[in-house]
Amino acid sequence: MKLLYFAWVRERIGLADETIERPAGVETVADLIGWLKARGDGYELALAEPEAIRVALDREHALHDASLDGVREVALFPPMTGG
């Protein structure tokens, strides 16, 4: 599963993207965020407030309770500020 990070999520984690094997027990976006937070200080800082994190699954907006089954690309990012 490919993970993409944008804006300050990217800066805090220190990575633009990475590819992981989905660990056992990680069923939803919320599970993934919880698992990522334990991976290091950058992740912990980036994801400290999960409610501030928006998510896209295979380039479509999704909520934190969405299932990761069949998902190839997960993007985590702050609220958007385009336009």
């Binding site: 993409l4 944008f6 804006a7 300050w8 990217r10 896209a56 380039r59 479509e60 907006h61 993007a75 990012f77 702050p78 609220p79 958007m80 500020t81 385009g82 336009g83």
Partner: protein
């Protein structure tokens, strides 16, 4: 059937060129509304905005939003182009052109597109200050969520 053009660009946007590219010789359009969102210098404080985007999803979201608008209002032409990369004060960030037989459809389609772009299109603005010190990510505004919400849930 509406003609819909959408995209992202790393190069400066040209509103006059875009308008000319569709309305030359057309005699069936009654109303054209354009929106240009520009980079402000924030009273001279700002050197540039850096616009990060999610390649692939940004294009898809802009197209999705444009099609939602074209289903909801009888527009004949709808163009939406969003800039990414480093943008200097005075340069456009986003261009919307909505053409219709009647003015309210053109106004509302353009405003709907902007309200949804603000909250749905994966772009993030980072400010670069002129004095080289304070740079930071622009925070999302609650007012933008409220602006989106007033259109109701699109089907």
């Amino acid at each position: 059937m509406a003609t819909i053009r959408t995209g992202v660009s790393g190069e400066p946007l040209d509103m006059a060129g875009l308008v000319a590219s569709f309305d030359q010789g057309r005699t069936d359009i009654g109303a054209v509304v354009t929106f240009t969102g520009l980079c402000r210098d924030e009273d001279g404080r700002l050197d540039a905005l850096e616009l990060e985007h999610y390649p692939g999803m940004a294009e898809a979201e802009i197209a999705r939003i444009a099609h939602l608008a074209a289903e909801r209002w009888p527009v004949t032409d709808l163009t939406v182009i969003h800039r990414h990369g480093r943008v200097a004060p005075g340069e456009p960030i986003v261009l919307v052109i909505a053409a219709s037989k009647h003015r309210h459809a053109a106004f509302e389609a353009a405003e709907f597109v902007m309200d949804f772009l603000k909250t749905q299109a994966p772009f993030w603005k980072k400010e670069h200050a002129r004095d080289g010190t304070a740079t930071g990510w622009v925070a999302a505004r609650d007012a933008d969520d409220e602006a989106e919400a007033r259109w109701g849930k699109p089907s």
